[in-house]
């Protein structure tokens, strides 16, 4: 084997290894991206389920006349759990849309006469109930926006 052939063979071997490493890096990157997307999908779905659950608890609370300390406690606790889920999104900070929508949702549920002794039961189509539904839908949309923005 001539010296030139030896150099060509060595170069080809080197190129082969570089291609193998590059290929591995591409596949690894795609796998990581797929896994992150799966985790983010699951995180978004959990947050959306929690949002719907709280909205439903809130409607029950607003349309029921009796003082229900257990239910108000559950609503507050579930809101904190939802916030823990939302904190996993990259954009859950002071002036972010996700924080604004979450705060509006929490206010629509636990503001006003929440935990007031003499509160009255509202009708299913009362403004208070509609406000909860609107803020729930806004929050659900924002969760989906955040998923699209960061993980799609």
């Amino acid at each position: 084997m001539t010296e030139t052939q030896t150099i060509i063979q060595a170069t080809l071997q080197g190129v082969t290894w570089v291609l193998i490493v590059l290929g591995w890096m591409v596949v690894n990157h795609q796998n990581n991206k797929r896994e992150t997307r799966k985790e983010a999908r699951s995180m978004s779905d959990l947050a959306k389920i929690a949002t719907k659950k709280i909205s439903s608890l809130s409607e029950k609370y607003l349309t029921t006349v009796q003082e229900d300390e257990q239910l108000s406690l559950e609503i507050k606790s579930e809101l904190e759990l939802l916030e823990v889920e939302l904190e996993r999104f990259p954009d859950f900070s002071k002036e972010s849309p996700l924080m604004t929508k979450f705060s509006a949702f929490a206010d629509s549920i636990t503001g006003g006469e929440f935990e007031a002794k003499n509160r009255r039961a509202d009708a299913q189509d009362a403004d208070s109930v509609r406000k909860v539904r609107r803020s729930r839908t806004d929050l659900l949309s924002e969760i989906e926006n955040q998923f699209s923005k960061h993980f799609k």
């Binding site: 507050k76 809101l79 924080m99 929490a106 636990t110 503001g111 929440f114 007031a116 002794k117």
Partner: protein, 108 residues
């Protein structure tokens, strides 16, 4: 400079709820009038720690902190004297929003 720390859970109740005294034993107005206002009067800085409770309704937080503005403490003074701490970021954001809203309603 004197600084004073208040833990809602330890110094008031782990189960704060409601706005007014008739709503229960640990409402926002009572926390504000008995604990928070005296602390603000007597200190240059007051740190309110919101951790360790069963959670807060906006009604409690609005009555406590928005109520500070209605009780004669403008936002400008509160920005200098009041610090809110919580492991849940939204509480701090909401507290300052209630203060700002009470301030804008006062000036109308």
């Amino acid at each position: 400079m004197s600084s004073f720390s208040i833990s809602v859970a330890k110094d008031f109740s782990p189960s704060p709820a409601g706005r007014f005294p008739e709503d229960g034993p640990f409402p926002g107005a009572v926390f504000r009038d008995r604990i928070l206002i005296p602390a603000i009067k007597g200190n240059d800085e007051v740190v309110v720690d919101l951790d360790g409770t069963d959670g807060f309704g906006s009604s409690f937080l609005e009555e406590t902190f928005g109520g500070l503005v209605r009780s004669g403490y403008p936002e400008a003074i509160l920005l200098q004297k009041l610090k809110v701490r919580s492991s849940r970021a939204s509480y701090e954001v909401r507290v300052w929003r209630y203060i700002k809203k009470a301030e804008s309603q006062k000036s109308k």
